[in-house]
Assembly symmetry: D2
Homo-oligomer: 350 residues x 4
């Protein structure tokens, strides 16, 4: 089956192209009687809105969401929740040049290979614009998590090689990089300025910290909690790596160093990242994701056209120089969707 | 739904506990008229057999597989292929001590939290024994890949901090570590000896290299090829991190460094790891996985019992000191299952 | 999972309430490069539009569909096709009386039991209005069938006890009952008039005839073609019975009477209704469905309110006196969706 | 995907051919801590065993089931339950003649068309033998229903035109036809004798009555309870029609006759068959199924061979002359599987 649906019980299907009339999500399986209003969703959408930050794309997307179904008198009804976000401020003519040429680092070539046709305008379905629907759906998922007291914190761990070394929850959104460490914000800023001046782009890393998750979430064997979280997070466009807890560092630890001792009421350490044998263990769930640099850069690059002939291309249009921080709420949304789904899956056998 | 099934069209369901009478897999959706014999499967199973390597568990599992259905006169029929592997040489009494106590780093605590009951013998369903069924199913998946000329190479990238720096395909299985770099085998050996002497265990990293994969495999948005590969690989017990191509290193590259230029006939570099926008691009697919050290160590560890009281535990029984190399064919199998599924998914719209 | 999605590979998710702002469908998995325009869909939607026939509800629904995604320059792209139909001419105040009382024969009581909340206006999600999205999606499915030359004919077999005895394809839509037998139209008309005068409603039966279906469609065991067709057809609100081929009459035949002899090029009879062992046999597929009378009648009926107290109720508002003929294209759409899905499923292993 | 799995949360996958070494079922998603023993399953299997009744096939199948996983110390653990039933008393040489010729009324022709290969021995996967796995799985499903006090009664409604007119629960299994009406048993017997003497076979009808089902089970729109029940029941080999409640009779009722009035505590009638708008209403669920006559008859029939040439065929081997009563527990099992699945689905949102 095609891959535009996520989740087994709390199921989200998204649709829409960057330069089509609208994009949206349909959520099926949301439990009834949860309070839900468009404003709940727009708070989260605002965090992925471009143009807020100095270094971000100049496209303006107001990202007003409309709830078209599934809510009655302020409460979910258990029927599908249809969310729609209209596309505005679309300048498709910026993309005319891309009709027959493939941008390096983008899906142009692979979509053409897969389907034999593609909507080249703004990346079509492969645009980062698509993630607005994920963020909207994630805000609904959070309503399910709220009922169980589960909190999902998302922030920038690293940008352009500058790494946060502590997490101050209250400071994440008071800077333009979703950086939780106030002491490195100016270093991030300096790095961004430097790279913008070079006409280049930056990668980084995002971290998610989930607290309040009860033990036992996840499904053994193939649908381990960490496996589905990796699926969820890696499904976000620019992500090239996912770690749970100690991640790749665990590869170099000894068993005696890596095992988290159990103590009454919990664990004495959390190298496991809150997951054991694919099930949550009640401790904080820690996920890190590597984010590649934005491939659209105002430099001439070597590529080919649809006939396979060599071409050079300087990508025009309005582009961020890093997927960070806009990708931060997107990854957070994917974690929310995953956890809401596993909560419902657990209820079924509980 | 419970998580013992993997794949949408080429679908594998596994079952079985470490100390039950048998374990197995049912494969539904395998195309008809492919040649298949038990011997095809046993070759791959032999690579995850314990006891072959000096450092491995002393449990002997002959791992003879029986094909109970879905094959007629040497060819698949399109109906479910049921594979069974009987458990032999099981010493359940070794585990009596674990009935009421949770081993650190294992699923004992989380299974109990999830189900309120667990088969404590040998880890039950959470045992690495379960992966025999994955390997068996992966060998069937390879039959689907064979028809398209897709080859999946799996090997040890790193063990106990010793890293392979080149890949010699023909040397991988001529040493006890599935190490593709003959020059570091003795260093791995030395590290293993050293850690065994300490009564400890080791982690490492596994890499997969897929060649011959046509462009366009994968499904946009949630079921991106890299997302499902991450799901597949992270679903293997000890894996704590997954990277595609440059992985976490991409976080520190500039866009101009990270973009792979397109040239007539392919790409001039492969930092993407063969996947663009979630679809294969025709280049080699490169996946790396972090493997944590085996949690069962012959040292006294701090833990709790089922009543939550503090206990100390020295894990007895027969245990490897690293999941490597036995995990290598398991991760390879998961990649094979993923690719076979996407091949069929692509045919449906092709 | 919640039940608003149909199909495995050609997957339709519908959403929307009778008195919400809109309703719609998202189709995921539609093959690329098929021609598709809103007009293709509206032709089919027009057949379920109320108010065309003398005996039908007086609510006017223009049922203009908008294609919001998945089509580029007149061709499907392989990405999700989002269809939206706005609700207009909604008179929700007609339903104020139903906020706390359950209409007999409707889902009011069962939705309340399931969800503990319901949108009472016009039946909410349980309204026949929901079927507009099915018909729209079915028109897209027909594009997939067109490529294989598969034709789906839907018509009224019986209305109020008056039964068609022959099928003239060209006459089905030249009368207000989708009756394929011109000779019984006036008898149907007389029966409708009579029952309207009584303030009552009528049931009937619908038949579907599929031609051009290749042999081998369907999946053995649980997803037999007839099983999924029964699922599809029975999922339409008023349907209370489904037959394939001879159906219940087969229960009284002998084996020698019921077996269809094979002859070179096909079958000498078609009591099987074109399906053998759950797979299409290349002959015409014949499905019949029993349709119950519309439960909303302008007579006083015995019921209870939300507190369980006895009440009487005379249902007001605009109602058809039979689900026929508006249900005819809905059942046809469900058959189209089923066949398109099985076509893609067959391609995956073909 | 291939169709050998049924259910969303309580998921059963069956495998096995009539003349292979064994057949079985894997149940994933069964809640933990339910008591389960092989004997619970064999009681139900005994009811579909051939050779008990005078008119049934002379093949002897002891149908001993082994539970290979998912049960620990007499309780389910939440992990997959693997059930295996070995095939014994197999006489494959009886089927040599059928290697290249298609039996009328069987799946021989359609399996060949679908897969281009088939196991011709005893019908392979299309054999009624496959239903043993369904019955075994259904017995496990009943354990889930037991916890909620749901009872599924299955019986013969009609055999060879002789119809039961009352249901005495205690008498169903005291006669060889699963007939709940002691007064018509001898008429059924006479009809069976008569048809056996003719060398022919008989059809009939089976009815299911579910009591104790809470209101609200089922999922709106496509996965209505009646839709999935129709799917489940129609997936049983010989079934050609399914009715819910009044079924086809509802097509000739008026709305005022067909509506079941609500009264405090329930409904004053049950023409709906316990289902309203696709959700259970708390009343008894009534399902009827038409069963076609067994196609294997000892008469010469017209057919073709694999090259499409005309042939005549007299089917040899051991065959029942009616699928009744052996099909009765099979249909009951499918209803049990459906209800267990919907119970778990409801818990997820409850």
């Amino acid at each position: 089956m095609a891959g535009n649906t996520f989740g087994q019980l709390f199921r989200v299907t998204t649709w829409g192209e960057s330069h089509g009339p609208a994009l949206g999500a349909v959520i099926d399986g949301c439990p009834p009687r949860l309070p839900l209003a468009a404003a709940d969703i727009e708070t989260e959408l605002a965090r992925r809105r471009p143009g807020v930050q100095a270094h971000a794309t100049s496209r303006r997307e107001p990202d007003k969401v409309e709830i078209l179904s599934g809510v009655f008198e302020g409460l979910t009804t258990g029927t599908p929740i249809s969310l729609i976000i209209y596309n505005r401020d679309v300048k498709s003519q910026d993309y005319d040049e891309l009709r027959n040429v493939f941008r390096p680092g983008h899906g142009d070539f692979t979509y053409q290979a897969k389907y034999g046709i593609r909507d080249h305008r703004g990346g079509g379905r492969a645009s980062a614009r698509e993630t607005a629907a994920r963020v909207a759906a994630g805000a609904v998922a959070q309503k399910v998590l709220d009922a169980d007291g589960i909190k999902v914190l998302a922030y920038t761990l690293e940008l352009g090689g500058v790494r946060a070394t502590r997490v101050d929850e209250d400071r994440i959104w008071d800077n333009p990089y979703a950086c939780p460490d106030p002491e490195v914000v100016s270093a991030m800023e300096a790095r961004v300025q430097e790279v913008r001046a070079q006409g280049d782009s930056l990668g980084g890393a995002v971290q998610i910290r989930v607290t309040g998750c009860p033990p036992g979430l996840g499904e053994p064997v193939f649908d381990k909690l960490d496996a589905v979280l990796a699926h969820a997070v890696m499904s976000v466009g620019a992500v090239k790596g996912v770690e749970i807890g100690a991640g790749f560092a665990a590869a170099r630890l000894l068993g005696s160093e890596n095992n988290d001792p159990l103590v009454p009421g919990g664990f004495a350490a959390n190298r496991a990242g809150g997951i054991l044998a694919g099930l949550s263990n009640g401790d904080a769930i820690i996920i890190s994701a590597a984010v590649k640099p934005i491939p659209s850069i105002p430099q001439e690059q070597q590529t080919i056209d649809q006939e396979g002939q060599p071409r050079t291309l300087k990508v025009k249009g309005r582009h961020d120089i890093s997927a960070i921080p806009r990708i931060v709420p997107v990854i957070g949304a994917m974690v929310r969707l995953t956890l809401a789904d596993f909560l419902l899956r657990q209820r079924a056998i509980g």
